[in-house]
Protein backbone atom coordinates (compact mmCIF):
# COMPACT_ATOMS: atom_id res chain seq x y z
CA UNK A 1 0.00 0.00 0.00
CA UNK A 2 2.71 2.44 1.00
CA UNK A 3 4.69 1.31 -2.05
CA UNK A 4 1.81 2.11 -4.36
CA UNK A 5 1.21 5.53 -2.81
CA UNK A 6 4.89 6.37 -2.88
CA UNK A 7 5.09 5.28 -6.53
CA UNK A 8 2.06 7.40 -7.42
CA UNK A 9 3.42 10.44 -5.61
CA UNK A 10 6.86 9.97 -7.18
CA UNK A 11 5.27 9.72 -10.62
CA UNK A 12 3.23 12.85 -9.88
CA UNK A 13 6.36 14.69 -8.73
CA UNK A 14 8.15 13.75 -11.96
CA UNK A 15 5.18 14.62 -14.17
CA UNK A 16 4.61 18.03 -12.57
CA UNK A 17 8.36 18.62 -12.69
CA UNK A 18 8.24 17.97 -16.41
CA UNK A 19 5.21 20.23 -16.87
CA UNK A 20 7.26 23.13 -15.49
CA UNK A 21 9.10 23.36 -18.79
CA UNK A 22 6.16 22.53 -21.01
CA UNK A 23 3.41 24.98 -20.00
CA UNK A 24 3.10 28.41 -21.58
CA UNK A 25 1.73 30.15 -18.50
CA UNK A 26 4.46 31.22 -16.10
CA UNK A 27 2.19 31.07 -13.11
CA UNK A 28 1.29 27.51 -13.97
CA UNK A 29 4.98 26.70 -14.35
CA UNK A 30 5.78 27.93 -10.83
CA UNK A 31 2.85 26.18 -9.29
CA UNK A 32 3.61 22.92 -11.13
CA UNK A 33 7.01 23.07 -9.51
CA UNK A 34 5.24 23.61 -6.20
CA UNK A 35 3.07 20.55 -6.81
CA UNK A 36 6.23 18.57 -7.47
CA UNK A 37 7.53 19.64 -4.06
CA UNK A 38 4.18 18.90 -2.47
CA UNK A 39 4.39 15.36 -3.83
CA UNK A 40 7.90 14.97 -2.41
CA UNK A 41 6.62 16.31 0.90
CA UNK A 42 3.85 13.72 0.75
CA UNK A 43 6.42 10.98 0.23
CA UNK A 44 8.26 12.35 3.25
CA UNK A 45 5.12 12.06 5.38
CA UNK A 46 4.51 8.52 4.13
CA UNK A 47 8.10 7.54 4.87
CA UNK A 48 7.75 8.63 8.51
CA UNK A 49 9.44 12.00 8.15
CA UNK A 50 6.43 14.18 9.00
CA UNK A 51 8.33 17.32 9.93
CA UNK A 52 10.56 17.28 6.85
CA UNK A 53 7.62 16.51 4.58
CA UNK A 54 5.26 19.18 5.88
CA UNK A 55 8.02 21.76 6.22
CA UNK A 56 8.95 21.13 2.58
CA UNK A 57 5.40 21.88 1.51
CA UNK A 58 5.26 24.97 3.69
CA UNK A 59 8.57 26.37 2.50
CA UNK A 60 7.93 25.62 -1.11
CA UNK A 61 4.47 27.16 -1.02
CA UNK A 62 5.99 30.45 0.10
CA UNK A 63 8.97 30.15 -2.23
CA UNK A 64 6.92 29.34 -5.29
CA UNK A 65 4.56 32.21 -4.53
CA UNK A 66 7.57 34.52 -4.67
CA UNK A 67 8.79 32.67 -7.76
CA UNK A 68 5.45 33.21 -9.49
CA UNK A 69 5.60 36.94 -8.77
CA UNK A 70 9.10 37.13 -10.23
CA UNK A 71 8.01 35.11 -13.23
CA UNK A 72 5.24 37.56 -13.97
CA UNK A 73 7.59 40.47 -13.33
CA UNK A 74 10.37 39.42 -15.62
CA UNK A 75 8.86 37.19 -18.25
CA UNK A 76 7.09 38.48 -21.26
CA UNK A 77 3.71 36.94 -21.86
CA UNK A 78 3.25 35.53 -18.35
CA UNK A 79 -0.29 34.38 -18.89
CA UNK A 80 0.72 32.13 -21.74
CA UNK A 81 -1.27 33.98 -24.38
CA UNK A 82 1.61 33.40 -26.77
CA UNK A 83 3.19 30.00 -27.01
CA UNK A 84 6.43 30.09 -25.08
CA UNK A 85 9.65 28.41 -25.89
CA UNK A 86 12.87 30.03 -24.85
CA UNK A 87 15.57 27.44 -25.03
CA UNK A 88 19.15 27.21 -26.14
CA UNK A 89 21.48 24.25 -26.66
CA UNK A 90 18.34 22.19 -26.64
CA UNK A 91 19.80 18.92 -27.95
CA UNK A 92 22.73 18.98 -25.55
CA UNK A 93 20.40 19.71 -22.65
CA UNK A 94 18.06 16.88 -23.51
CA UNK A 95 21.07 14.58 -23.84
CA UNK A 96 22.56 15.71 -20.55
CA UNK A 97 19.25 15.40 -18.72
CA UNK A 98 18.59 11.94 -20.11
CA UNK A 99 22.13 10.82 -19.44
CA UNK A 100 21.98 12.01 -15.83
CA UNK A 101 18.62 10.37 -15.23
CA UNK A 102 19.65 7.11 -16.89
CA UNK A 103 23.01 6.96 -15.16
CA UNK A 104 21.48 7.63 -11.75
CA UNK A 105 18.66 5.19 -12.50
CA UNK A 106 21.12 2.50 -13.54
CA UNK A 107 23.13 3.12 -10.41
CA UNK A 108 19.98 2.68 -8.33
CA UNK A 109 19.00 -0.55 -10.07
CA UNK A 110 22.46 -2.09 -10.23
CA UNK A 111 23.78 -1.37 -6.78
CA UNK A 112 22.64 -3.36 -3.77
CA UNK A 113 20.58 -1.05 -1.63
CA UNK A 114 20.77 -1.46 2.12
CA UNK A 115 17.54 -2.03 3.94
CA UNK A 116 17.34 -0.57 7.40
CA UNK A 117 14.00 1.20 7.76
CA UNK A 118 13.32 3.67 10.50
CA UNK A 119 11.62 2.16 13.54
CA UNK A 120 7.92 2.92 13.62
CA UNK A 121 7.95 3.80 17.31
CA UNK A 122 10.84 6.24 16.99
CA UNK A 123 9.95 9.85 17.80
CA UNK A 124 11.68 11.29 14.76
CA UNK A 125 10.58 14.88 15.32
CA UNK A 126 12.05 14.98 18.83
CA UNK A 127 15.20 13.26 17.52
CA UNK A 128 15.54 15.94 14.87
CA UNK A 129 15.15 18.64 17.49
CA UNK A 130 17.77 17.11 19.75
CA UNK A 131 20.11 16.68 16.79
CA UNK A 132 19.65 20.29 15.69
CA UNK A 133 20.25 21.75 19.11
CA UNK A 134 22.65 19.05 20.31
CA UNK A 135 25.46 17.40 18.37
CA UNK A 136 24.86 19.34 15.15
CA UNK A 137 24.19 22.70 16.70
CA UNK A 138 27.20 24.25 14.99
CA UNK A 139 25.94 23.18 11.56
CA UNK A 140 22.47 24.45 12.35
CA UNK A 141 23.77 27.76 13.60
CA UNK A 142 26.00 28.08 10.55
CA UNK A 143 22.95 27.61 8.35
CA UNK A 144 21.22 30.32 10.36
CA UNK A 145 24.10 32.74 9.91
CA UNK A 146 24.25 31.87 6.21
CA UNK A 147 20.56 32.73 5.91
CA UNK A 148 21.13 36.02 7.70
CA UNK A 149 23.99 36.81 5.32
CA UNK A 150 21.69 35.89 2.44
CA UNK A 151 19.06 38.30 3.64
CA UNK A 152 21.58 41.13 3.87
CA UNK A 153 23.15 40.21 0.53
CA UNK A 154 19.80 39.98 -1.23
CA UNK A 155 18.73 43.38 0.06
CA UNK A 156 22.04 44.98 -0.91
CA UNK A 157 22.05 43.39 -4.36
CA UNK A 158 18.50 44.24 -5.24
CA UNK A 159 18.37 47.70 -3.71
CA UNK A 160 18.36 50.61 -6.08
CA UNK A 161 20.24 52.79 -3.72
CA UNK A 162 23.99 52.45 -4.11
CA UNK A 163 26.49 54.02 -1.76
CA UNK A 164 26.80 57.11 -3.92
CA UNK A 165 23.41 57.51 -5.51
CA UNK A 166 21.14 55.28 -7.50
CA UNK A 167 22.86 52.19 -8.85
CA UNK A 168 21.25 52.44 -12.27
CA UNK A 169 22.79 55.87 -12.65
CA UNK A 170 26.31 54.71 -12.01
CA UNK A 171 26.55 55.33 -8.26
CA UNK A 172 30.01 56.85 -8.55
CA UNK A 173 31.85 58.19 -5.53
CA UNK A 174 32.52 61.91 -5.27
CA UNK A 175 35.88 63.26 -6.30
CA UNK A 176 38.82 63.46 -3.93
CA UNK A 177 39.08 67.15 -4.72
CA UNK A 178 35.97 69.30 -5.23
CA UNK A 179 34.65 68.78 -8.78
CA UNK A 180 37.54 66.34 -9.36
CA UNK A 181 37.62 62.88 -10.89
CA UNK A 182 35.73 60.25 -8.93
CA UNK A 183 37.85 58.15 -6.66
CA UNK A 184 38.35 54.51 -7.36
CA UNK A 185 38.02 52.53 -10.55
CA UNK A 186 36.35 54.18 -13.46
CA UNK A 187 33.56 52.12 -14.96
CA UNK A 188 34.07 51.34 -18.63
CA UNK A 189 31.44 52.83 -20.84
CA UNK A 190 30.06 54.82 -17.97
CA UNK A 191 26.95 54.20 -15.97
CA UNK A 192 23.54 55.24 -17.06
CA UNK A 193 20.96 53.39 -19.01
CA UNK A 194 21.87 50.70 -21.42
CA UNK A 195 19.33 50.06 -23.99
CA UNK A 196 16.95 47.26 -23.95
CA UNK A 197 19.11 44.19 -24.05
CA UNK A 198 17.15 41.39 -25.31
CA UNK A 199 13.97 39.40 -25.05
CA UNK A 200 14.53 37.18 -28.07
Amino acid sequence: MTDLLVALLAAFAVWTGWRVFRVDSMVRASFSLMLSFVAVGGIGVLLSAPYIGIATVFMMAVEMMVMAIFMVMFMMNPAGLNPMSMVHQHRISIGAGLLAALALGAAVLLSPLPSNPVLSEADVVAELGHELLGPSMLIFETAGVALLATMLGAVILSSRQGRFGNSDEGSRPPGLTPEGEPAGRKPEGGGGHHHHGGHG
Binding site: F21, G44, G97, S136, G197, H199
Partner: protein
Protein backbone atom coordinates in the same frame (compact mmCIF):
# COMPACT_ATOMS: atom_id res chain seq x y z
CA UNK B 1 11.55 -1.92 -3.24
CA UNK B 2 10.17 1.37 -1.90
CA UNK B 3 13.69 2.74 -1.81
CA UNK B 4 14.21 1.88 -5.49
CA UNK B 5 10.99 3.64 -6.46
CA UNK B 6 11.94 6.72 -4.48
CA UNK B 7 15.44 6.82 -5.89
CA UNK B 8 14.23 6.32 -9.48
CA UNK B 9 11.85 9.23 -8.97
CA UNK B 10 14.73 11.29 -7.60
CA UNK B 11 16.88 10.35 -10.62
CA UNK B 12 14.15 11.46 -13.01
CA UNK B 13 13.69 14.75 -11.14
CA UNK B 14 17.42 15.43 -11.24
CA UNK B 15 17.47 14.63 -14.97
CA UNK B 16 14.57 16.99 -15.72
CA UNK B 17 16.12 19.66 -13.52
CA UNK B 18 19.44 19.35 -15.33
CA UNK B 19 17.66 19.65 -18.66
CA UNK B 20 15.88 22.79 -17.46
CA UNK B 21 18.98 24.38 -15.99
CA UNK B 22 20.94 23.81 -19.20
CA UNK B 23 18.27 24.61 -21.76
CA UNK B 24 16.32 27.57 -20.41
CA UNK B 25 17.31 31.03 -21.53
CA UNK B 26 15.37 32.94 -18.93
CA UNK B 27 17.01 33.28 -15.53
CA UNK B 28 13.83 32.54 -13.67
CA UNK B 29 13.16 29.35 -15.62
CA UNK B 30 16.78 28.37 -15.17
CA UNK B 31 16.36 28.68 -11.43
CA UNK B 32 13.34 26.44 -11.64
CA UNK B 33 15.63 23.80 -13.12
CA UNK B 34 18.03 24.17 -10.21
CA UNK B 35 15.17 23.92 -7.73
CA UNK B 36 13.98 20.76 -9.41
CA UNK B 37 17.43 19.18 -9.05
CA UNK B 38 17.42 20.06 -5.36
CA UNK B 39 13.97 18.55 -5.16
CA UNK B 40 15.38 15.30 -6.51
CA UNK B 41 18.20 15.46 -3.97
CA UNK B 42 15.70 16.06 -1.16
CA UNK B 43 13.65 13.07 -2.28
CA UNK B 44 16.74 10.86 -2.33
CA UNK B 45 17.76 12.05 1.14
CA UNK B 46 14.33 11.33 2.56
CA UNK B 47 14.35 7.90 0.95
CA UNK B 48 17.79 6.95 2.24
CA UNK B 49 17.13 8.34 5.69
CA UNK B 50 13.88 6.52 6.10
CA UNK B 51 14.68 3.18 4.47
CA UNK B 52 18.41 2.61 4.57
CA UNK B 53 19.85 4.46 7.52
CA UNK B 54 17.45 3.37 10.22
CA UNK B 55 16.34 6.93 10.92
CA UNK B 56 19.71 8.44 11.69
CA UNK B 57 18.96 11.99 12.94
CA UNK B 58 21.74 13.39 10.72
CA UNK B 59 19.68 12.41 7.69
CA UNK B 60 16.90 14.78 8.69
CA UNK B 61 19.50 17.43 9.39
CA UNK B 62 20.76 17.04 5.82
CA UNK B 63 17.21 17.50 4.49
CA UNK B 64 16.89 20.71 6.53
CA UNK B 65 20.18 21.90 5.09
CA UNK B 66 18.96 21.21 1.55
CA UNK B 67 15.93 23.38 2.30
CA UNK B 68 18.17 26.14 3.60
CA UNK B 69 20.25 25.85 0.42
CA UNK B 70 17.08 26.21 -1.66
CA UNK B 71 16.06 29.31 0.25
CA UNK B 72 19.53 30.84 -0.15
CA UNK B 73 19.61 29.97 -3.84
CA UNK B 74 16.23 31.60 -4.39
CA UNK B 75 17.01 34.76 -2.45
CA UNK B 76 20.43 35.40 -3.93
CA UNK B 77 19.28 34.29 -7.38
CA UNK B 78 16.39 36.74 -7.45
CA UNK B 79 18.53 39.51 -5.98
CA UNK B 80 21.05 38.96 -8.79
CA UNK B 81 18.30 38.94 -11.38
CA UNK B 82 16.99 42.24 -10.06
CA UNK B 83 20.49 43.73 -9.99
CA UNK B 84 21.25 42.62 -13.56
CA UNK B 85 17.86 43.74 -14.78
CA UNK B 86 18.26 47.11 -13.16
CA UNK B 87 21.59 47.58 -14.87
CA UNK B 88 20.81 46.22 -18.32
CA UNK B 89 17.11 45.44 -18.59
CA UNK B 90 18.19 41.89 -19.35
CA UNK B 91 16.52 38.80 -18.02
CA UNK B 92 18.05 36.22 -20.30
CA UNK B 93 21.37 34.45 -20.14
CA UNK B 94 22.42 35.49 -23.66
CA UNK B 95 22.06 39.14 -22.80
CA UNK B 96 24.94 39.09 -20.38
CA UNK B 97 27.82 37.67 -22.36
CA UNK B 98 30.15 39.51 -20.08
CA UNK B 99 29.94 40.34 -16.43
CA UNK B 100 32.00 43.50 -16.87
CA UNK B 101 30.30 46.66 -15.80
Amino acid sequence: MTLSIVLLGAAALIGIGLYGALSQQSFVMLMMGLELMLNGALLAIIGFWSLALGGMPEGQLLAILVMAVMAIEMAIGFALIVAVYRKRQADMTESIGTLKQ
